[in-house]
């Protein structure tokens, strides 16, 4: 049963465009995350939000920015996409810190930059 919802499933765009991915969780969790899965299938954390505060911000390019209206939503905006941004972006949530709580993932958003 999916409780972390991501839209869109796929997005194709051109270099320089702006894109925005949405994520919503209905689990009542306190923390949400964005991960990037690269071409080698490695998952790397990009951002995490806890109670509308940015907790972790890995060294991602400035064109990426997380946007949260409340603890159930965490969107990801890319201001000016570049070819290397092509990847699958996964949203996740947990009720507390990752160290003691399970992560629940959305289906992912596949971005293709032409």
């Amino acid at each position: 049963e999916t409780a972390v919802f991501q839209t869109p499933n796929y997005h194709v765009t051109q270099v320089g465009n702006e894109v925005s991915f949405n994520c919503k969780q209905t689990l009542g969790h306190d923390t949400m995350y964005w991960y990037k899965q690269d071409s080698k299938k490695l998952l790397k954390i990009m951002f995490s939000y806890n109670n509308k505060q940015l907790i972790v911000n890995e060294t991602v390019p400035r064109r990426f920015s997380p946007q949260s209206s409340d603890k159930a939503h965490l969107n990801l905006r890319i201001k000016s996409v570049e070819p290397e941004d092509s990847a699958v972006y996964l949203c996740a949530s947990s009720s507390g810190t990752i160290s003691n709580e399970r992560l629940f993932f959305g289906h992912g958003t596949k971005l293709s930059v032409l």
Binding site: T2, T31, Y33, Y35, K40, K41, L42, L43, K44, I45, S48, N50, I55, V56, V88, L90, A92, T97, I98, S99, N100, E101, R102, L103, F104, F105, G106, H107, G108
Partner: protein
């Protein structure tokens, strides 16, 4: 550098047989989770462990923080077990590092 080394990268099993997946960590991890990526691309939670072992049906997982490894055992493999399995380890706080995945194919 890489903190999680997952092996094997690919595994083929016949129905009814079993095997083990392993993740080695280069540093002390506080907890580990195992996921299976299904045909729709969703990451499905299998186990969460802060220590010890857990069993669920034909799956069993172990985590030894001191020895820096975790395993996922599959017994009596079924066709529907096919997919890509990931371990993910928590270094502390909100940081999680994923393994590179094991692609499992179960054949008749």
């Amino acid at each position: 550098g890489d903190q999680v080394e997952q092996s094997p990268s690919a595994l083929s099993l016949h129905e009814g047989t079993g095997s083990a997946l392993r993740c080695n960590f280069t540093t002390t991890m506080r907890a580990v989770q195992w996921f299976r990526k299904n045909s729709r691309g969703s990451l499905i939670n299998l186990f969460y462990l802060a220590s010890g072992t857990k069993e669920n049906g034909r799956l069993k997982s172990a985590f030894d923080s001191k020895e820096r490894y975790s395993t996922l055992h599959i017994r009596d493999a079924q066709l529907e077990d096919s997919g890509t399995y990931f371990c993910a380890a928590a270094t502390g706080g909100y940081k999680v590092v994923f393994g590179s995945g094991t692609r499992l194919l179960v054949s008749p």
